[in-house]
Amino acid sequence: MTDEEILDQLHSVFSFVFNYDGGPLTMSMTSEDIPAWDSMSNITLAIELEHHFGIKIKIAEMESLKNIQDLTSLVKSRQQLTTH
């Protein structure tokens, strides 16, 4: 998956989890740019990401979800593990 495709899919995940209706996501965004993103909704996000992308997120990686750049690379690297 390319970065743009991931960002696209993240947008729909975010609108489901955070009721996010803002513009397209960019790599420089963080959790501070999205109002409803707190530690509770972060949990929901993690589960949704696991469902949506078919990946498994480690506990140690949960805080790195709060950075779009890190989140995208995480999804990409996990995807590469699951595709053969």
Binding site: S39, M40, S41, T44
Partner: protein, 535 residues
């Protein structure tokens, strides 16, 4: 040894710096070893015997981490070692910190007044225990890159954070100890670190310490508080503990910077928060981070995963069912904040402090989950009322943090509710009372007038001083914002309204720094040990 003491500022610190940079010329390992040695000396200057405990704790945890890493193919063995490590660490912590209280509790001694402990609590045990548990979990998760023993020991014992934080994460610190440039003297880092240190020293000695006597009087058993006196007391204490703790943290950050090491931010103008959730993102940020990473996240996500596995809906709207809300939101929050509470101290009062904040957070998160999302931004009046609600909740919980006994805490809280009378609620009346007392000085004769007038002025000054300090806290930039051009700490520094108040090495700022440091160094002599010292 305290940072705010002459022995540290003019003795230990310069010696440690000189040794570090001299040995740095010989290489990384000599300088790093000198730092480890200095840190043990720093710890031992308080109580030499407990350096053995510190060394044992570090040795034990490092060994466990090696075993965890060695068994990364065998998940069961890994988890066993991890559990063993956490068990022993928490056990030691309970033994030194909580055992006396637990025994007292079970023997039916007064739960309200903690008995005088017969065990001296090793300095900083809460800090270095939790730091190491975090490391063990990270090793088990496979996210620790650097496992060298010297870096690990230095990471745990590095004296700026050893006793009172900030609580460091291995990923942000250990790499810095591997870099060559950490061991090369930089006059910029020395200067920037000294400025941050002096700001911290001034906050602690000039702003926080003078308030402690006033606060102690307010919590004395004989104090009978009215509503206004109780609220004034808590507003004053909130300021005292903020400047005390953030000042000490600034000193830690500044000292680390003198050694070319960057520490994470620990405070971000917490009293500007307009919600409790926001508050905990700004107060003792490294503790929030630690508890979120290693307690809240694992707990909440395992509950959420089990809900999802049982095909129970977990989306935002689905969380509004009572059962889902309790299990997924309230329960993890209450557990995490209870731990946060008793981390600060043994005793029912600290547990209540934690539970109160757990309750507040639950309400706050619940509010976000249950109400429909707001399209428009909040108006200023709305934000003001949010702020008032947030601050009031914080002050009420803070009573349980500070009050010497449970009875005192309950008395203060009931005074805040107006149970014991209103007192000088109307500020205008207070002002007039002060003015009329001053008038008496000039008209009345005799020694009596002198004492009562001065007292009235002192009472009025308390209100003014507290109001002034709150003004500073709400309007002025915090230390990181002042220093933001020089990357004072790890973490994002959001811009402040007063953008022009930033530090630059100019003559004007040199004059200000010199004057402030003169005052701060003079104030060191009247020093009180800082509040978080007992943790």
């Amino acid at each position: 040894m305290l940072f705010n003491s002459y022995g540290f500022i003019f003795g230990f610190l310069p010696l440690s710096l000189v040794g570090f940079y001299s040995l740095g010329r010989l290489g990384r390992k000599p300088a790093a070893s000198w730092l480890v040695f200095s840190s043990f000396v720093f710890y031992g200057l308080w109580n030499p015997r407990y350096t053995f405990l510190l060394a044992l704790s570090i040795g034990f945890n490092y060994l466990i981490s090696l075993m965890i890493h060695a068994n990364r193919q065998h998940h069961f063995l890994q988890r066993t070692y991890l559990t063993l490590g956490i068990f022993v660490d928490i056990g030691v912590l309970i033994y030194y910190k909580y055992l006396v209280d637990i025994i007292g509790f079970t023997y039916g001694l007064s739960v309200y007044d903690s008995p005088t402990p017969s065990i001296t609590i090793p300095l900083g045990i809460s800090f270095f225990t939790f730091t190491q548990i975090g490391y063990l979990v990270d090793v088990q998760q496979g996210v620790v890159a650097d496992k060298s023993p010297l870096n690990y020991v230095l990471f745990v014992t590095f004296f700026p954070h050893l006793i009172a934080g900030p609580i460091l994460h291995n990923r942000e610190i250990m790499p810095q100890f591997s870099e060559k440039r950490t061991y090369r003297f930089s006059i910029e880092n020395l200067t920037v670190g000294s400025v941050i240190f002096i700001i911290g020293l001034a906050k602690k000695c000039l702003l926080a310490d003078p308030l402690s006597a006033q606060v102690s009087t307010g919590f004395a058993p004989s104090a009978s508080l009215t509503l206004s006196a109780a609220w004034l007391l808590m507003f004053t204490y909130a300021i005292q503990i903020y400047f005390d703790f953030s000042g000490y943290t600034d000193m830690a950050i500044g000292i680390a910077r003198m050694f070319n090491v960057r520490f994470p931010m620990n405070f971000n103008s917490p009293y500007k928060a307009t919600s409790i959730i926001d508050f905990w993102q700004r107060w003792h940020m490294t503790l929030t981070r630690l508890l979120t990473l290693y307690l809240f996240n694992p707990l909440a996500i395992s509950i959420a995963r089990s809900h999802a596995a049982r095909k129970l809906p977990i989306s935002r709207s689905a969380q509004t069912s009572t059962n889902a809300f309790f299990m997924m939101t309230a329960f993890p929050l209450l557990i995490t904040m209870s731990v946060a509470g008793i981390w600060h101290g043994a005793g029912i009062k600290f547990l209540i402090f934690g539970l109160l904040h757990g309750f507040y957070l639950t309400v706050n998160h619940g509010w976000r989950i249950f109400r429909s999302p707001r399209a428009s931004k909040l108006g200023p009046l709305h934000r003001l009322s949010n702020w008032l609600l947030t601050i009031s909740s914080i002050l009420v919980a803070l009573v349980f943090f500070r009050a010497p006994t449970m009875n005192s805490a309950l008395a203060t809280v009931s005074a805040m509710a107006g149970v014991h009378g209103l007192g000088n609620v109307v500020f205008r009346n207070l002002l007039l009372h002060g003015v009329s007392s001053i008038q008496l000085i000039f008209t009345q004769h005799g020694p009596a007038a002198a004492t009562s007038g001065l007292k009235a002025i002192e009472n009025a000054m308390q209100y003014f001083l507290t109001a002034f300090l709150w003004f500073i806290v709400l309007i002025m930039p915090n230390t990181q914002q002042i220093m933001h051009k020089y990357e004072p700490a790890l973490g994002r520094i959001n811009p402040c309204a007063l953008q022009r108040m930033t530090w630059k090495p100019t003559i004007a700022s040199a004059a200000a720094l010199g004057a402030i440091s003169a005052f701060a160094i003079m104030a060191v002599a009247g020093t009180t040990p800082f509040v978080y010292f007992q943790f």
